[in-house]
Symmetry: C2
Subunit: 873 residues, 2 copies
């Protein structure tokens, strides 16, 4: 027979999945001898079986609860419902994972019209007895009977108002008796039946309410948001009541063993005298700082701080503790690992290592790498945020907070920024032409596009706040308006974006800047000592490169060359190059672009010093550089002295049905070799010049994109080597260099052995590899990936976290085959996944040499790499 109910002394901390967090910790505290009121836990399995049995409590469970209840009554020498010696209990939910949104607590269960009299007599405190009874009716009605809370609150408030009282504690016994009668009247009116007088019935109804609350909409939303499986269930804890509302030597409180906001090693918490737990949470009275307890009840305070210290030592982590003082005696009601801010997490981890409480490895494993993101970006001032009005929600595409005036075109954004405005660029979706407008903006909001859309990728690269795919937005660029349902926002209106949550607010919200403390640097140093993966960055400008080095990047893993061509003075030459109808014309335009490209590389090489720099040759389809709007084409035609119709035709000809799978990457180089020749010349001349003029060692790694067939690679490699040979001979200096390829086409993973014969490195382009392996366009897949996750088809968005089973197997195949022909081939990843902790772990497991990610994710990758090394050592 399955055991569904455990007395506290039967459990332990490691039974969390069965007893829930609360239950297992109550058991643990009981076993280590702390003052915990007795009780028992109904398991999470019982909860799941309840659902399987079509939401009904079954006999066996009923019997097991009865049995434990009887044992508890024996132990306490009190009986549930016994008017002369009544036992009161609390009923609380407790899942394995801490989770708001579920039913929380019912206190004082066991009171009814008879036992309340008994309690009054025994405690010789009728006021306490009736206060407890009115609380039970109020809580029970709220969470079990689902009667709106305000119906009771208003009665309570009007009673206080009538009598001119400020605080609940001013209410007399008579007042409370009257309230009890009024509350029972509400129940009768709302439910058509009286408040249940049978304590057993109360108990079973409460247990069932906890079970049900596991699946209420708020709880489901929370689990979806935090990737918590729905099939875990919650436990139910039934515990003997102790009373913080027994008088002036009673009270209740919550405290953290260290400050959860700053990490300071000092008790942090608050308490209320003569109150029950929910009063602290409800904020009816203002709680007092835990320090004050020292003066009020010095012994209880002393005892509590001892218990708090021993709990931290026992659990070896900062604890979040609930306690009650009943007539001067301290009771522990809950302990759990305390939630903390990223800042506090680092502070506590480093302190605990220095206190020799935990090892460096444990400190590192305790941090959530993604939380570091908060530290690197501005955040909203929390108080200001509390008053803000949420207007819609998109995807949290790039971290940080931004507040500013709406502009709808990149040109307007640039102008406003130049005039000193803080700009939020609002677009349906961005394209490479918008780059300058994005640079000029504090934040970017798009109506379309997913987590890896152009806006998202570029914003992350810049460390700029971005909310993408806010599907409710209705943007009219012509009218310069943005509608959300019936609300309309125009140019110059203030909005605020939270890139960590995807929330969009109306109005201006104050932000505060990021700052990195010394503890952060210490922790990262430990991480660097432990990790095996190198961490590089994806950066296309000297500014981004410098930022990345500051964050600890050890090289550039992906320098995209396409963004370099969008600057105003270059795009024209680029367009002329594309529109050339002869090789000679194209070469002329390329000759103009060459010195600009060289300058780009000189800047990046300087910023990176002697660190390796992987440069990807031109990748996107050429039509991305061409104007698409009629007016822009007209303008270009005039500038280029080409007939409008001819130009329109060329633009149309270059348009592709599926640009993602089109004429791009090395395919361009095979039809227009002169483009790559120019780029390679620019790279090598920049490197030789730095060597000659500044004696700087540069290690360019030339990366050929979109290779799917060995002949493509060999063709471009030969072309590259010819140019390199020329440049080196002309300059007379030696520059070490590598030539390698992106692995991003599924076929490349299959023929990796052939490619590796010529390629000195592989860099996994997991964005494209995921697109092609799944057949998902990342520009379009946002529409159904959400539905896929809702319906359980996909557990994770494969663009956010590497799909180990599919994409991962192809990566492993490529590595195995690549090494079969070049055992020392250098292996890296430069897709967005390179900055995502779970993916970084996978990269460690399959033996990559490095990951590369946007500058602001470099610290995350460093930490994740260290965690991976520790987990798999």
């Amino acid at each position: 027979m399955k055991k569904y109910v455990y007395a506290f002394h039967e459990g332990s901390a490691d039974m969390k999945s069965l007893l829930g967090g609360k239950g297992s910790n109550l058991a643990e505290m009981t076993n280590i001898g702390l003052p915990v009121p007795g009780g028992y836990t109904v398991t999470t399995e019982a909860c799941m079986e309840y659902y399987e049995k079509d939401n009904a409590i079954w006999d066996e469970l009923l019997q097991q609860i009865d049995k434990k209840q009887m044992e508890l009554e024996e132990e306490m020498s009190k009986k549930l419902g016994d008017p002369s010696n009544p036992l009161l209990v609390s009923v609380r939910s407790g899942a394995a994972v801490s989770m708001p949104g579920m039913m929380d607590t019912i206190l004082n269960l066991g009171l009814n019209d008879e036992t309340v009299e008994g309690m009054a007599e025994i405690t010789n405190n009728p006021r306490f007895a009736y206060d407890s009874y009115r609380r039970l009716i109020q809580m029970f009605s709220d969470v079990v009977l689902e009667i709106p809370k305000y119906k009771f609150d208003t009665l309570l408030e009007s009673k206080k108002r009538d009598k001119g009282m400020k605080s609940d504690t001013d209410l007399t016994t008579e007042d409370l008796k009257e309230l009890v009668e009024a509350f029972k009247g509400v129940v009768k009116k709302e439910k058509g039946s009286a408040f249940p007088q049978d304590p057993k019935e109360q108990l079973m109804m409460a247990v069932e309410a906890v079970f049900k609350s596991w699946n209420n909409p708020r709880a489901r939303v929370y689990r979806d948001h935090h990737d918590i499986p729905h099939r875990m269930g919650t436990a139910v804890n039934v515990q003997v009541m102790v009373f913080g509302n027994m008088g002036d030597d009673s009270g209740t409180g919550v405290a953290f063993t260290r400050n959860p906001s700053t990490g300071e090693n000092k008790l942090y918490g608050e308490f209320l005298m003569n109150a029950q737990g929910e009063d602290v949470v409800a904020g009816i009275r203002t709680p007092r700082d835990i320090e004050e307890l020292k003066n009020i009840l010095p012994e209880a305070y002393h005892q509590f701080s001892e218990v708090a210290r021993s709990l931290e030592l026992h659990y070896r982590d900062m604890q979040d503790i609930e306690f009650t003082i009943d007539s001067g005696k301290l009771y522990m009601l809950q302990t759990r690992t305390g939630k903390r801010t990223a800042n506090a997490a680092i502070q506590i981890a480093v302190d605990m290592v220095e206190e020799k409480l935990i090892t460096k490895e444990e400190a590192i494993l305790r941090l959530n790498p993604n939380d570091l993101d908060q530290l690197l970006h501005p955040t909203f001032n929390e108080k200001a945020l509390a008053d803000a009005s949420l207007i819609t929600k998109g995807l949290p595409a790039s971290s940080g907070a931004a507040s500013g005036k709406i502009y709808f075109t990149p040109e307007d954004a640039v102008k406003a920024n130049a005039a000193g405005e803080r700009v939020i660029l609002v677009r349906n979706e961005t394209s490479p032409e918008d780059i300058e407008g994005m640079v000029a903006s504090s934040g970017i909001l798009t109506a379309k596009g997913g987590m890896t859309s152009h806006a998202a990728v570029v914003a992350r690269g810049m460390g700029k706040c971005c909310v993408s795919g806010a599907g409710d937005l209705n943007i009219n660029e012509a009218e310069k308006t943005m509608r959300i349902e019936s609300d309309c926002y125009g140019e110059g209106d203030y909005i605020s974006l939270d890139g960590n949550t995807g929330y969009v607010y109306s109005g201006l919200i104050e932000t505060k800047d990021a700052s990195l403390g010394g503890q952060f640097l210490k922790l990262m140093e430990w991480a660097d000592d432990l990790r095996q993966l190198k961490v590089r960055t994806n950066a296309d400008t000297p500014r981004d490169s410098a930022k990345a080095v500051e964050f600890g990047a050890e090289g550039i893993g992906l320098c995209r060359t396409e963004h370099m061509f969008f600057e105003d003075n270059r795009i024209f030459v680029m367009r002329r190059m594309i529109l050339s109808r002869s090789v000679e014309d194209r070469k002329k335009a390329l000759d103009q672009l060459m010195p600009m490209q060289k300058e780009d590389f000189v800047g990046i090489f300087k910023a990176m010093g002697s660190r390796p720099v992987t440069i990807r040759l031109l990748d996107p389809p050429l039509h991305e550089f061409l104007p698409s709007e009629k007016e822009d084409i007209e303008k270009l035609a005039k500038e280029m002295e080409v007939p409008f119709n001819r130009l329109k035709e060329i633009v149309f000809e270059l348009k592709e049905v599926n640009p993602m799978l089109g004429h791009r990457g090395c395919r361009l180089a095979i039809t227009y070799p002169e483009i790559y020749e120019m780029q390679i010349r620019a790279i090598m001349e920049a490197a030789t010049e730095l060597k000659q003029k500044e004696n700087q060692e540069v290690i360019p790694e030339i990366m050929i994109p979109l290779v799917g067939e060995v002949n493509e690679f060999d063709y471009v490699k030969e072309l590259a080597e010819n140019v390199i040979r020329e440049v080196l001979e002309d300059s007379g200096v030696e520059v070490p260099y590598l030539i390698g390829t992106m692995i991003e086409i599924p076929r490349a993973t299959i023929v990796a052995d052939e490619i590796a014969k010529g390629a000195e490195f592989f860099s996994f382009g997991t964005n494209d590899l995921t697109q092609m392996t799944y057949g998902f366009s990342r520009d379009d897949a946002g529409r159904f990936i959400k539905e896929y996750r809702d319906k359980g088809i996909l557990e994770k968005d494969p663009f956010q976290q590497i799909d180990r089973k599919g994409v991962g197997e192809l990566m492993e195949m490529a590595i195995e085959r690549g090494r079969s022909t070049r055992p020392d081939i250098k292996l890296g990843i430069c897709g967005e996944h390179g900055g995502e902790p779970n993916s970084v772990e996978f990269c460690h497991m399959i033996g990559l040499d490095y990951v590369s990610c946007s500058p602001f994710r470099v610290p995350i990758a460093r930490l994740a790499a260290a965690q991976a090394a520790i987990k798999h050592s």
Copy 2:
């Protein structure tokens, strides 16, 4: 030391790659004792080394040629350049593969001002000597010195005109002497130096000219077109001259051992008396039927027909033979396997089996499956074609010939067809909306799109002629004009398309219909006995299905359901369904579509009888069904009573950046389950109705497209089974059915083991699988695939022939893994490759159960499957 030169008696027929076709056959004929003038062959390896050595003849080769030349002179007791006893030779090219475009022949080499006198004396025939000399100068100048041929022809013609002569044979010795002088003058004038008098120099120049001709542009184009590698080289044959121009008992001719056009078993050829080989080809005199030789030189004729018969027996195939009669004596100058029409190929193969000359297996292996295509489609009348004017060239997207009036819109095409016109539909590219226009047309011409574009795929399915991607076309639909450079064609102008070559002609060209003879049926019967692969068809209509059954299809491997929704009365309901904003509205529209779908399936099931029918559920993204032009949206908005702007917005929202990788296939079913539910209901109700009313057994195979993750498959399968259960219970009859999936997403091949747990069959969708494995969009890749093939990056277009190394390996992986969880899983292919012989062979090798292809390719697949079974038995 490498042997570069072989005497004829040193070679044999199996040394074709080294000695070329001509050389190896001359060796073979020498060895079996036929009358072949002596000579030697310079190898193809020598030719390739010549290119490697920067186009220079090297000493060793020179010495080897000298040596063989000396041996030949000894054998013949004549010497090259000996005025008293001159040896004359012919120099001819001969690659391993028969290939027009290269230098062909130089006869009479060895003549100069001195030896011509010697020849005149020895033969006592000065007219012959000078005729030979003027021929040498003419041919040598043309092919070695590259002096335009007409410069000599005009001199010859004016000489005949001056003298009032009709034929070359009327020229006197004096005339010929004068011509020789005049010809030498031309050489001097054109080249600045005299016609080379040293016979050795003549010989080496001729050998080099043959080498060079391997790489002339015509030869390269021919090889590209016929997929012949460029790295083979040509051999050079040097052979003692015999003279068909020695007088009235001399002559020369060409004959086939059987009729190459009809296959009739009877000598077929022509000859000229007193002539040399090039006269037959040049058409200066009209050659006579070989039969006539019987009367003129009965003995030579008799001997020739004996030799012809023995050559056919020796080579066991129809031969194409060149011969010369020198003063009554027969000499064999060449034999090779004769080219023949598809009709003749079948006739000859079947006849030879019946003559017990070859086995059925050999007969089948000798046919090129692709040639069958000619037999199934109309072709141009050859004479009419000869006068036609070629205006441009596109891709040979779908076989057959079509001639008709140009129409630019599907609506105009439908109207014109209804009015009895023959229509050629001319479009930039077609879309599913154009279907009715395509049905109404005799042929389709598009400016964009490749071999697997919408136009190409649909046309092949219909067996309709299509030329796609004719890039020179400049179509203006608004003006209803089509320009090719400066020429302009309007609506109603006649053009003609050749779907076998991709050629487009102006004007009307007569076509002749296809007809299939009894021999064809006999051969296909043999093929069916031998093959292991089943052959199904891709068909979406009862008409196509019936056609396919006629061509031998054993089931439907792919019935696409999307085309069914484009009919006029349906598209409106379909659009309403797509534009529904609630599940209820969508269901209402689907309820209207259901009976129509059911009717479709009843029709197809009836046409297929008890053969299995695989139905693919809706696959394309929904926006394909929506109008894209402003006017069409306006019209629809009016019909639907929806505001124009709202409709435009929805259409815009549904638009995708990369539709190929977008919201389509089973992804639709996961967001809109009711669509597939309707389709599955329609399929099963059609099947149960036929079973009930007509007692017809139907085996529907329900195919889920675009699965990449097992949860997708399981979700749709469950949905399907619920509907099926309902339909079967309601009808009370049993219908056997299968549920399976397309394997077309690379990830599906990796997780095939998981998918196969639920899937009863896999059908490889190699079109999409190729797109995603290579990262090529088939709509766009046409632009660079040509360049890839030109530059040797890709040997084959992977959309035409399965890429065994990449896509093939994924298929093998899917099969292995699929069988690991379901050993008896049914395996097929329904991509375009299913009708391509090389791919069919691969399907046989990896153990598929069937291939499926468009109706008109079913016979090709049957033959290819038989060939594969024979080759791999």
